[in-house]
């Protein structure tokens, strides 16, 4: 047995994140070439600008600029009056021009601030900046019986890419993951990005260093790349903390370098030392004049911001009497929150807001999960807020029983028909007229003399059995309480 000590007893962990996120624009960053390359044949979404053919010039995608500023506003950033683009020079086969157009010292967004709740504590994470740049192509490495070669797909080249850089304000892997989930939620809420890690539209690098508690100087920073899921972010950070602590414990010094996370082993391996770092020779992009960001444009974007998840959850709690967990669950995606509110509005009775929530969080969420898609929403189950509203109303009016309602929902999922139609066509209305079920009750009493005797003998539970029989005969359409009353009066009379 090895004795494990928690490295954080001795060291403070300092983590900063760099997040790259592809924007959901119509076209690419600097030309009108379509942007959405998912599932497209290699090199079919290209044009002269994307390929950087000689003489081509970039033209700024205004939608990408708006999206970046919108994301910045949602994350509490300051939008400076002037911004510009720069060239970042480095040769690589997937970089068509031999330089990337990015923003060096005058990005669109500065100084944001985000509150997160991780490890049971509230924390503030400061953002340094958000800037806009173009994505690169992709190298596809092949191996033909030992002779390796690489192919290049330029579909991704020129896709608008937003890069967010945090201050070194994170301290645990849990915080990092909670922060990243929050970012993704905001990017999706504001509609600026799909932020799908698997598709590569949301990518994260982490800068990690350790220092002894109380130390002023930050330790040597190690940059971790190749983390393709939230889980790998968590594992990579945890591995790196232990690795660096071990180096320090052994009296060594952590080297400033870039390391890659290997999913299979859960380890990080050295990729590039500090000496191997590029000199990117940034200089202002001469093909794009500097931009002046008009206050009116920023104001307009600020006004267009949707209500963000935290604020919305707080409002759901107070306006609809939901629990904190319910409110949080219902505001997890903007679509879900909007579906919920649409249903509540259609029902038109705040007293039923919590019932609507129960349906959404219960049976409907179950159905959504069964679809097995991370981005599935209500619409994907085949029903709409109107379905939910009718269902809740039908139960509330006593037209159907709660148990019938579950069946109606099932029919609705399958057919897309509205609950009122289903109830009508399948004759599922609750039987409320006692005379209509009197015959059934009499027959059941005649056929179950033992239960009747038990009841007469003072065994109240025998009634439950008889009610169950009635429910079965009426296919659940009877209100169990009135059935019990009817059975009792019939036996007693």
């Amino acid at each position: 047995m090895t004795t494990t000590t928690d490295p954080t007893d001795k060291y403070e962990v300092v983590i900063g994140l760099e997040v790259h996120c592809q924007l959901r624009t119509q076209s690419k960053m600097f030309s009108d070439c379509p942007r959405d390359y998912f599932d497209r044949e290699p090199n079919t979404l290209i044009d002269p600008v994307t390929l950087g053919l000689p003489g081509t010039l970039p033209v700024i995608n205004e939608q990408a600029v708006s999206y970046t500023i919108l994301a910045g506003l949602a994350l509490g950033c300051r939008i400076p009056e002037f911004a510009k683009f720069d060239r970042k020079n480095y040769p690589y086969p997937d970089l068509p021009k031999g330089y990337q157009i990015t923003q060096y010292d005058q990005p669109f967004c500065l100084d944001g601030e985000v509150a997160i709740n991780a490890d049971g504590r509230e924390r503030t994470v400061r953002l340094e900046r958000i800037h806009l740049e173009e994505d690169t192509g992709r190298l596809l490495h092949r191996d033909d019986g030992g002779k390796g070669y690489s192919l290049i797909d330029f579909n991704r080249a020129g896709v608008p890419l937003m890069e967010l850089v945090t201050k070194p304000d994170l301290h645990t892997s849990e915080e990092a993951v909670v922060f990243l989930r929050y970012l993704r939620q905001i990017f999706r809420y504001t509609g600026v990005s799909d932020s799908d890690l698997e598709k590569g539209s949301f990518r994260c690098d982490a800068n990690i260093s350790l220092r002894t508690h109380g130390a002023q100087e930050l330790g040597a920073k190690v940059e971790i790349k190749n983390m393709n899921s939230f889980r790998s972010v968590q594992r990579a950070i945890e591995f790196e903390i232990i690795r660096q602590a071990a180096v320090l414990d052994a009296g060594g010094t952590v080297e400033q370098e870039t390391r890659g996370f290997v999913d299979g082993t859960g380890e990080t391996v050295s990729q590039r030392s500090k000496e191997g770092a590029h000199d990117y020779r940034y200089f202002p992009e001469p093909d794009l004049p500097p931009l002046r960001i008009e206050t009116a444009m920023v104001d307009e974007l600020r006004a267009s911001l949707p209500e963000l998840p935290r604020a919305r959850a707080a409002r759901f709690e107070s306006a609809y009497g939901l629990s904190r967990d319910e409110a949080r669950t219902l505001t997890e995606t903007r679509q879900r929150a909007e579906d919920y509110e649409a249903a509540v509005t259609l029902v038109g009775d705040l007293d039923l807001a919590s019932t609507v929530a129960h349906w959404l969080i219960g049976d409907i969420a179950g159905r959504i999960n069964e679809l097995g898609r991370a981005d599935a929403e209500l619409i994907d189950t085949g029903i709409t807020p109107k379905h939910i509203a009718q269902l809740v109303q039908l139960v509330d009016e006593g037209t159907i029983t709660a148990s019938t309602a579950k069946d109606v929902l099932g029919f609705a999922f399958d057919s897309g028909d509205l609950p009122e139609t289903i109830v009508e066509e399948q004759n599922l209305k609750q039987v409320t007229d006692v005379h209509a079920i009197k015959d059934i009750v009499v027959t059941i009493i005649e056929n179950n003399p033992k239960a009747v005797d038990d009841y007469r003998g003072g065994k109240e539970s025998a009634i439950k059995f008889l009610v169950g029989q009635v429910m079965r005969e009426t296919k659940g359409r009877t209100d169990p309480n009135s059935a019990a009353d009817l059975i009792k009066t019939t036996i007693d009379s």
Binding site: I60, F283, D287, L288
Partner: protein, 493 residues
């Protein structure tokens, strides 16, 4: 029609050809055939073309004839024109004078070629140039040097040497060049033709193979100022594909021609008449100044551009810096020359660039890479940009007191082939008077103003930003006064 081919006088200007085409004196097809035959014979003497586009030219000529036959057509419809081989032409080899673009045929036209085609001009060929427009003698061409039609032992100037020489040699009445530091005006002066560099932002750079993006403009060559004004009108104006073009309307450049020298205030800055100026060139230019004065212009010798001393060093920081990035895309991966048998991607890229680029191009890439490197940026690039701001302010100040500035175009007449090829700095000095204008962004024109030992001398007029009209008006008044532009080289073919 072919049986009676009329004798066509190729000394004619574009305007005279256009008039002849309109009255049916000859057809565009006949003019084009005569032109093609002329430039083929000229090719052996002066090496002015890299590609002669016979097939396209004849097609365009026939289309022009159709258009003219309906009474339609622009001033350039049916008129032959040469285009610098730095301008992308769809489906036609575009070499930039480099081995690097071996086999490259653009998939698109540059904007100015599109505009030429819309006007009905007939493109007869792609003219020779210094590799990637880097050079002042046209000796840095992978396709061999161009020779000066006035003396075939001498250079035509550069980098648009082919465009200047073919107009001088009566191959075509008009051509297009590009001017990054003097590449239109210097060869225009050395070949005895008119050449204009428009204001930065006046003409689209889209599709023009980039050397130094913040300095260069496409501009016209012609044998007289009227033709140059017509060609500028055709190519000028905002382009949605070039963000550095401006919405400023394109005026009627010839509207003020009848006012001649009337009220013109001409500044003569002493800094352009310093010790580097050849004495015989000085005396020709002084005579021109006297002509201006006697013809009614007022001469102001008090204007100053003191920082012009720093223009050459600043230029040789800014231009190579931008070039180092602009030429990074030539890596052998996507198009053009590619070294295939390397052991690694890095080796193949480096071999490709080592062979593909000529010495002058490599020299500038090295200078630019160095100037942008970490630790040197502030001392070189940033300082050069400050010089640029000062020079721009000084031109603005000088031009607030007068309508235009008058200087020699070049310090000397055409020098001998081989004379400066081993002395880059000497070569750079031949742009001493032209490159400050690129740094400031102003428009400038060179017009023939006399001869020194049988070689043409150019008069350089510099105007206010977007006031090409005044430049053209003054140049036209001067040419009507002197008729130097009507002199033709005698080295006959």
């Amino acid at each position: 029609m072919d049986s009676a081919v009329p004798e066509i006088d190729l000394n004619r200007t574009a305007r005279e050809h256009a008039a002849a085409l309109r009255v049916g004196e000859y057809t565009s097809r006949q003019l084009t055939e005569a032109t093609l035959s002329q430039i083929r014979s000229e090719q052996d003497l002066f090496n002015t073309y890299i590609t002669i586009t016979e097939e396209l030219a004849l097609q365009q000529a026939e289309a022009a004839d159709d258009r003219l036959s309906t009474g339609e057509g622009d001033p350039l419809t049916g008129v032959p024109i040469g285009v610098k081989d730095l301008l992308s032409t769809k489906g036609i080899p575009t070499s930039a004078g480099s081995r690097m673009l071996e086999g490259y045929r653009p998939t698109f036209n540059c904007t100015v070629v599109d505009r030429l085609q819309q006007s009905g001009a007939v493109i007869v060929g792609k003219t020779n140039l210094d590799e990637f427009a880097m050079g002042s003698s046209n000796e840095h061409s992978a396709f061999g040097p161009v020779r000066n039609p006035w003396d075939t032992t001498r250079v035509p100037g550069g980098s648009s040497g082919g465009s200047a020489a073919t107009v001088a040699a009566r191959g075509v009445p008009l051509s297009l060049g590009t001017d990054t530091g003097g590449s239109i005006r210097q060869p225009a002066a050395l070949c005895g033709v008119v050449g204009l560099k428009p204001t930065y932002g006046r003409v689209s750079r889209y599709g023009v193979i980039a050397f130094a993006s913040s300095l260069e403009q496409v501009g016209p060559f012609g044998r007289d100022v009227h033709d140059v004004a017509d060609l500028l009108t055709t190519i000028a104006g905002q382009d949605s594909l070039d963000s550095t073009t401006v919405p400023e309307p394109v005026p009627d450049y010839k509207a003020g021609f009848e006012r001649g020298f009337e009220g013109l205030r001409v500044g003569v800055p002493a800094e352009f008449f310093g010790s580097g100026l050849d004495e015989s060139v000085r005396s020709v230019v002084e005579t021109a100044i006297e002509r201006f004065e006697t013809a009614g212009a007022s001469i102001d010798r008090s204007v100053e551009i003191p920082t012009v001393q720093a223009a050459l060093p600043a230029y040789y920081i800014i231009a190579p810096s931008e070039a180092s990035a602009n030429l990074a895309r030539y890596d052998g991966v996507k198009y053009g020359y590619s070294f295939k048998d390397g052991e690694s991607v890095d080796e193949e890229m480096s071999m490709t660039r080592g062979y593909g680029f000529g010495d002058e191009v490599k020299r500038r890439i090295m200078i630019g890479t160095y100037a942008l490197s970490a630790g040197y940026y502030d001392a070189y690039y940033l300082k050069a940009q400050k010089v640029r701001t000062l020079i721009r302010q000084e031109f603005a100040m000088a031009l607030s007191k007068c309508d235009l500035l008058l200087t020699p175009t070049t310090p000397s007449v055409a020098f001998a082939l081989g004379e400066k090829i081993e002395a880059p700095y000497e070569m750079y000095l031949s742009d001493l008077y032209t490159l400050p204008v690129n740094i400031a962004g102003n428009p400038a024109i060179s017009v023939p103003c006399g001869f020194v030992q049988g070689l043409p001398v150019g008069l350089h007029l510099i105007g206010r930003p977007f006031d090409e009209a005044t430049l053209l008006r003054a140049a036209n008044a001067y040419q009507e006064e002197t008729h130097w532009h009507e002199q033709a080289p005698q080295s006959k073919y």
